[in-house]
């Protein structure tokens, strides 16, 4: 007896129907997941917008002068609302990545514009913490083929991470240099607490949080996992080099032709 279902029309028809049903079910679940993410996002972000709006109004002086204690309390509310917002955004990003909904939109990205933009975004928090932010790049006029939004996300996550673990009066350096194979090597170095050898792979896993992390500094443990996914989406790789107690250097590569790599991987 042969195993070819083509010889048994009834069996083949049942199989085809079953496959079609399962496909429809998968599509339906994908729609539900997508709608869920959208609704959760909206329902969480809307109340956060009003909390943040009123707190910012009070801190901006709209309701009159504040005592030192009132300002302190409101600053803490603002800090925690911003923290919650980052967590929600990270969860949504991860959900989209895992659903395979993230696609690359590759353009020639100016290194100068990208590095400056990321650094500028962190200037206020660096100033508040007395941390020095530097760009060290001898090829600043170069462009790199990448998805600008995702490259900015990766660099921002890495700088955000460095800000967390770098003590006051420390230094964070953002750099980019070409590799011999044409890829671009980015790095974010800090003078923070460093990463012990046994955690250097784990820190890129979802929801993993460093053992030495203070409660105050804890996030959901998603920033590095998202960065890893976005770098790998470009066909690059990400890793960390560190000297505990002296700082860390997070490095990642963006290949010369991310779209080609992506197509190549899909084959």
């Amino acid at each position: 007896m042969s195993g070819d279902p083509g010889e048994f029309p009834e069996f083949r028809k049942t199989l085809e129907e079953r496959v079609r049903e399962l496909n429809e079910k998968v599509q339906e679940l994908d729609c539900v997941r997508s709608a869920f993410v959208s609704v959760v996002s909206h329902e969480l972000r809307t109340p956060m917008t009003s909390i943040k709006g009123y707190v910012d109004n009070m801190l901006d002086g709209l309701t009159g002068p504040l005592s030192e204690k009132q300002s302190y309390y409101l600053e803490r509310v603002r800090f925690n609302v911003d923290r919650l917002t980052r967590t929600i955004n990270d969860l949504l990003d991860l959900s989209r990545i895992e659903a395979g909904r993230v696609e690359l939109s590759v353009n020639d990205v100016s290194l100068n514009a990208m590095l400056t933009e990321v650094m500028d975004a962190f200037k206020p928090s660096a100033k508040a913490k007395a941390v020095l932010l530097l760009i060290d790049c001898s090829i600043i006029e170069t462009t790199v083929p990448a998805d600008p939004y995702k490259l900015r996300q990766v660099l921002s996550h890495l700088v955000q991470n460095a800000m967390k673990f770098t003590p006051p009066h420390g230094r964070i350096t953002l750099s980019a240099e070409p590799c011999p194979d044409g890829a671009m090597l980015f790095s974010v170095s800090d003078t923070g607490i460093g990463v012990p050898p046994h955690e250097r792979t784990k820190i890129f896993e979802r929801f993993y949080r460093g053992e030495a992390v203070d409660v105050e500094l804890r996030g959901a443990g998603l920033g590095l996992a998202i960065s890893k996914s976005l770098v790998e989406l470009h066909g690059g790789r990400i890793w960390v080099e560190s000297e505990p107690g002296e700082g860390s250097r997070f490095l990642f590569t963006i290949p010369a032709n991310p779209e080609f790599r992506l197509t190549d991987r899909k084959r």
Binding site: S41, R45, S50, I51, G53, D56, N57, L62
Partner: protein
């Protein structure tokens, strides 16, 4: 003459907080909570700029944007939304700017000021 801003947002706390901020910054503010009300308001009064939510109870914000632009193609409309991933669509359909909620006040004030400069000679 103080510039007039129409804020369209169905959440009274979001709209109320924004109204207080913008009035403090010297704007005159009108607040509507539905797409239809905002289209009617724009027929009755000339606004210098609109801050528009997308997830409204009666209409999608981009339909409201189209209706506002049908009447006044150069009216600057800033989309402010908590719905993810609609930036490209909003900008390609003629929005002046896009803010993902929650956003820092400075980002809104900068966009408003740019919108007023851009729409000033309407």
């Amino acid at each position: 003459m103080r510039p007039v801003v129409l804020i369209v947002d169905d959440d009274p706390d979001v709209g109320g907080g924004l109204r207080d901020l913008l009035e403090h910054e010297g704007y005159r503010v009108r607040l509507t909570m539905t797409g239809q009300d905002s289209i009617v308001a724009a027929e009755a009064e000339r606004f210098d700029v609109v801050v528009l939510d997308l997830d409204l109870p009666d209409l999608d914000g981009l339909n409201v944007l189209a209706a506002l632009h049908a009447r006044d193609p150069r009216l600057p409309v800033i989309i402010a939304t908590a719905v993810p991933n609609r930036k490209t669509e909003s900008l390609s359909q003629g929005a002046f700017g896009y803010l993902a909620k929650p956003f820092p006040h400075d980002a809104l004030l900068t966009l408003l000021s740019r919108a007023l400069t851009a729409g000033g000679d309407r």
